[in-house]
């Protein structure tokens, strides 16, 4: 069996085994929404101004007069067919709202993850290579302090320094300047859309808006990634196979990258799941600080005006993304560690 086939099998198996978690998530959100204050019929269907008869009708229509287990089945059916209810604040179906806003959130999260990985992994390796040096201590101190600064505080510090003091960052609200022209909506990712139409000044404008929120999010997860990279690199560098490689006279570059790093990458991948979970949470805070028009700020506005259908949709979406991300990490894991695939 080829490596590809083994990996695909493993992916399939993992996917099947993540189905119970997804189902659990669905049941849990269903239960959460049932203990909501007030009447779901009012919140999801009719709106607060509806008359008694109208509410009664919506209740029937939503199946709220049926026993709970049957309601759960109805709910699962609705979710499966993409019916997440209507938002009272925007007056649109939640699914449509989320579709429209999701690219903004994903663009932010992926950029932040990229920045974090690209800076934290080399930093961790560097610290491990120079263990005990000044650089090592600096990285370690950064790791200790980094996890202590709340995302919303570091975001505000960045705004103060780069927008107010230095004046090099644009007004920290939204994805694009109000007066700038938006690209045609192809992927929804502004950076990609601008590239497709070849509008480099637009690309640069949206990149400038993106960099501060992405950096804020990256800063928060930089510390755990750097910390675990450093620790696992130290372990790998102290191992016997590295000693053997050294004694064979391999170039130190090759030892570090090919032998040590490949082994050190596994713990980093493991922690990536937790990192991604914190990022999805930090997303809410960062979108609020930078008025970023993503799904999190959408859910938050809905939540604060007691509009619960968007909140439910958001929680489901986040859980689904997280389950999917864990699946992806698992695939990467089996690619980088062939031992796992061998049965």
């Amino acid at each position: 069996m080829g490596l590809f086939e083994i990996t695909m099998r493993r992916v399939g198996r993992r996917f099947v085994s993540s189905i119970p978690a997804l189902l659990g998530v669905l049941v849990f959100t269903f239960l959460l929404m049932r203990v909501l204050p007030g009447d779901p019929a009012v919140f999801f269907g009719a709106g607060t101004n509806a008359g008694q008869a109208e509410i009664e009708q919506v209740r029937k229509q939503m199946g709220l007069d049926k026993p709970i287990p049957q309601q759960l089945l109805l709910y699962l059916k609705d979710v499966a067919s993409g019916k997440l209810g209507n938002s009272m604040t925007t007056g649109q179906p939640v699914l449509a709202d989320i579709k429209q806003r999701l690219p903004a959130s994903l663009e932010l999260t992926f950029t932040a993850l990229l920045i974090a990985l690209v800076s934290a992994v080399p930093l961790g390796i560097w610290a491990a290579l120079k263990a005990g040096s000044l650089i090592d201590h600096a990285v370690r101190m950064f790791c200790v302090v980094g996890v202590c600064v709340p995302t919303f505080v570091s975001g505000l510090v960045l705004i103060y320094v780069f927008y107010y003091m230095l004046g090099i960052a644009p007004d920290p609200t939204g994805r694009l300047d109000v007066f700038a022209s938006t690209p045609p909506n192809i992927t929804g990712f502004l950076l990609i859309d601008f590239l497709i139409v070849g509008d480099m000044s637009g690309w640069w404008a949206s990149a400038k808006q993106l960099i501060l929120p992405a950096l804020t999010m990256a800063l928060f997860v930089l510390a755990p990634i750097a910390r675990i990279t450093r620790a696992s690199m130290l372990a790998a560098l102290g191992s016997e196979f590295v000693r053997t490689a050294r004694s064979l006279g391999l170039s130190s570059w090759r030892i570090v990258i090919t032998y040590a790093l490949r082994n050190a990458v596994l713990p980093v991948l493991t922690i990536l799941g937790i990192v991604f979970s914190t990022m999805l949470g930090a997303n809410v805070l960062v979108e609020k600080v930078f008025s970023w028009p993503g799904v999190a700020s959408y859910a938050l506005n809905a939540l604060l005006s007691s509009d619960y259908a968007p909140v439910q949709g958001f929680v489901l979406l986040m859980a689904a993304i997280f389950v999917f991300a864990n699946l992806l990490i698992d695939i990467l894991y089996s690619i980088s560690d062939p031992r796992i695939s061998i049965e």
Binding site: G24, L32, F152, V153, Y160, P172, L285, F314, M318
Partner: protein
């Protein structure tokens, strides 16, 4: 007994000498607790009395951390807020510790079907991004301070359950557990009198590390407008209010509560790391 306590003390002293940061962190946590207790009586200004005439003033000799948009003293507000922030975090962590330790140890001790159900429950909780789950919980339970505590406790729960479960699981067939059972102790008594005290030191580390995380989560929730309402002084909401004035350069509204948050989390984390060094048997030489 005296020799054990002496050697423990000696060990703690040895760890503190090797890692003076732990001593600093312990002192810091003690000061924070003291401030939470007596802070409201010490502060120079009333934390909620507004005086628009002196609104948005930069730090000065009279107002060490400046004044906010309503002319309230930011420093006084930050100090007074310590009590609420620490109480939220401490009650959330103790709630999840108590429930988590009991559920986890029973699950680990009994095993079988119950253990599987508990394990599945924890898996489902861990399938949510935890901050988002806390948000949803506050939405479901109602936007009140008590529910911030409950939500924060809830998202901490999986860690305690898993931890207690694993620790009890490795001990449940140990000789001293067997002999307690042979002496006629009931299962409940074995769990409460022998197993729980045995895993307590290891859980203390978890508690200290979790307290910092709980402070961050609770402040995050109130930053996005959940739980604590104005004009109650609380670090998260103070930062949220100050955020409106940051792009016009009024940094001091955010600086003081932001720094308080950071230093609190830092102290708890350092203390947790230090406790781990003290309790980790591998460190005892």
């Amino acid at each position: 007994m005296s020799t054990t306590s002496y050697s423990t003390l000696a060990h703690i002293g040895w760890v503190l000498r090797g890692n003076p940061l732990t001593a600093v962190a312990a002192a810091g946590v003690a000061i924070l607790c003291l401030l939470a207790a007596v802070g409201p009586y010490l502060v120079p200004y009333d934390p909620i009395a507004s005086n628009v005439a002196i609104a948005l003033q930069a730090p000065s000799a009279a107002h060490w951390a400046g004044t906010d948009q309503l002319g309230r003293d930011v420093f006084s507000r930050t100090i007074v807020a310590a009590r609420l922030d620490l109480i939220i975090a401490a009650s959330a962590v103790s709630l999840s510790f108590v429930i988590g330790a009991v559920v986890g140890s029973i699950s680990g001790y009994v095993g079988g079907r119950l253990d599987q159900i508990v394990g599945r429950f924890v898996d489902v909780l861990m399938a949510f991004p935890l901050f988002v789950l806390a948000m949803a919980l506050v939405a479901a339970l109602g936007n009140r301070v008590e529910n911030i505590v409950i939500a924060t406790a809830f998202i901490n729960l999986p860690f305690y359950i898993r931890f207690a479960r694993a620790e009890v699981n490795v001990r449940r067939n140990a000789g001293w557990v067997e002999s307690a059972r042979a002496c006629g102790d009931s299962h409940l008594s074995v769990i409460l009198r022998f197993l729980l005290p045995n895993i307590l030191p290891a859980m203390a580390v978890q508690i200290s590390l979790n307290l910092g995380w709980a402070v961050l989560n609770a402040a995050g929730l109130s930053f996005i407008g959940l739980g604590v309402r104005q004009p109650t002084p609380e670090w998260g909401i103070m930062v949220a209010e100050g955020a409106r004035f940051i792009s016009t350069g009024n940094w001091w509204l955010v600086a003081c509560p932001g720094f308080a948050l950071m230093i609190t989390v830092l102290f708890f984390n350092l203390l947790g790391d230090g406790l781990r060094d003290i309790l980790d048997p591998r460190m005892r030489t």
